[in-house]
């Protein structure tokens, strides 16, 4: 049962630090490389952009349900959550340490709270390199422990970070969140207004939104924007452990899904739910 709207604690309205904190019990997570360590981007000020003291990436370590866990959260309000050299290295380094603990027999889970437009354009190649490393780290880690990705909104999760989300063991979204390789503006710019109208918010959410992603089996949990709901979904998925087959390993299934579509006809979002039913993935 959801709390009445006015009493509910919105997850979406929290910043990255409070989101990470909320996934641990009260006082149960400690921050690593926080703002006072001043690990900021060395590139932004050269381009006239004010850096942030944590480079928009919050890393916390603690226990979730008694099991060691690391939560890595991106701040969507800072540079659209864009991955730069430093924020990418923080995420990658944290994932690698979690992986090392698992290899030493200390079971440790990882949760990514992603709110990101992808690579930070000001640090283009360094951001791309960071995302490649993050993807390699997720692939290594997910053999030992589940990697749960949460994307709550309002930025959503796009570009390289959407690939990282796709590699995660499980994905949690709210209806307000969006997940996709290319953002609406990019699609419109590259393929034209006929392909995608980036001003049509209804269309955007019907395609990139959490509900559509859930109905077509691309994510594992669709939750209300409420701290306890998000937290419960994360705990539940961590409890399931490493999936037998990761979604991103089911290459043939997704190839067949593409083959099942007839691109010469007009496809509506509801058609996709019918052609790509959630039940077919399990």
């Amino acid at each position: 049962m959801n709390a009445p709207f006015v009493w509910r604690r919105s997850f979406l309205e929290l910043n990255a630090r409070d989101r990470a904190r909320s996934l641990f019990g009260p006082g149960a997570g400690r921050e690593l490389l926080g703002p006072f360590d001043r690990l900021e981007s060395p590139w932004l000020h050269l381009q006239g952009v004010t850096p942030q003291a944590d480079d928009g990436c919050v890393v916390m370590k603690g226990r979730i349900e008694g099991v060691p866990a690391a939560v890595i959260a991106l701040e969507g309000a800072f540079q659209g959550g864009g991955i730069g050299e430093v924020s990418g290295a923080k995420m990658c380094g944290a994932l690698d340490l979690v992986c090392r603990d698992n290899k030493r027999g200390i079971r440790t889970n990882a949760v990514l709270v992603l709110e990101s437009g992808g690579v930070r354009l000001q640090e283009a190649n360094l951001g791309l390199a960071a995302i490649a490393e993050i993807m390699a780290s997720i692939l290594d880690l997910r053999r030992y422990a589940p990697v749960v990705c949460v994307t709550a909104g309002t930025v959503g999760c796009f570009g390289g970070m959407a690939v990282a989300a796709g590699l995660a063991s499980y994905i949690v979204m709210t209806r307000e969140a969006r997940l996709g390789m290319n953002g609406p503006e990019v699609i419109e710019q590259e393929a034209g207004l006929d392909e995608f109208d980036a001003s049509d918010r209804g269309l955007i959410w019907a395609i990139h939104g959490g509900e559509q992603r859930y109905r077509t089996g691309l994510i594992d949990a669709l939750v209300e924007d409420e701290v306890e709901e998000v937290s419960r979904a994360v705990r539940c998925l961590l409890h399931k452990g490493v999936p037998n087959v990761h979604r991103s390993s089911q290459v043939e299934l997704f190839r067949q899904r593409i083959a099942d579509l007839d691109p010469s006809t007009h496809l509506a979002p509801e058609d996709l739910r019918r052609t790509w039913p959630r039940e077919a993935i399990a």
């Binding site: 703002p35 006072f36 000020h45 006239g48 004010t50 003291a53 701040e75 800072f78």
Partner: protein, 97 residues
């Protein structure tokens, strides 16, 4: 981007350091820590150039009623003076809890 530094006389040290805010459009982050000296030191980095006098007026007013020996770092992404004042108050409150 512009950087300014300001010094103010101070009397007492804050209880603990505090971090508030986000460097998002129209917002700022404030890092407040005990100052290694007996005075207060402020460094402002702002993405909007040409407002040194406004920053000085705002900080003069703030330190007129706050006497903490603090080192304050402000990373600003175009916040209005009202937002800056609220974030400074929030940082002080967090440092005294």
């Amino acid at each position: 981007m512009e950087t300014f530094e300001f010094e103010y006389p101070a009397k007492r040290h804050p209880l603990r350091r505090a971090h508030v805010g986000v460097v998002g459009s129209g917002d700022l982050e404030v890092l407040l820590a005990p100052s290694p000296t007996g005075s207060a030191h402020v460094r402002v980095r702002t993405s909007v150039a040409g407002y040194r006098e406004t920053w000085k007026a705002l900080l003069d007013r703030f330190f007129h009623r706050y006497d903490g020996a603090v080192s304050i770092e402000i990373n600003d992404a175009g916040a209005t003076p009202g937002t800056v004042a609220l974030r400074l108050d929030q940082a002080v409150e967090a440092s005294e809890q």
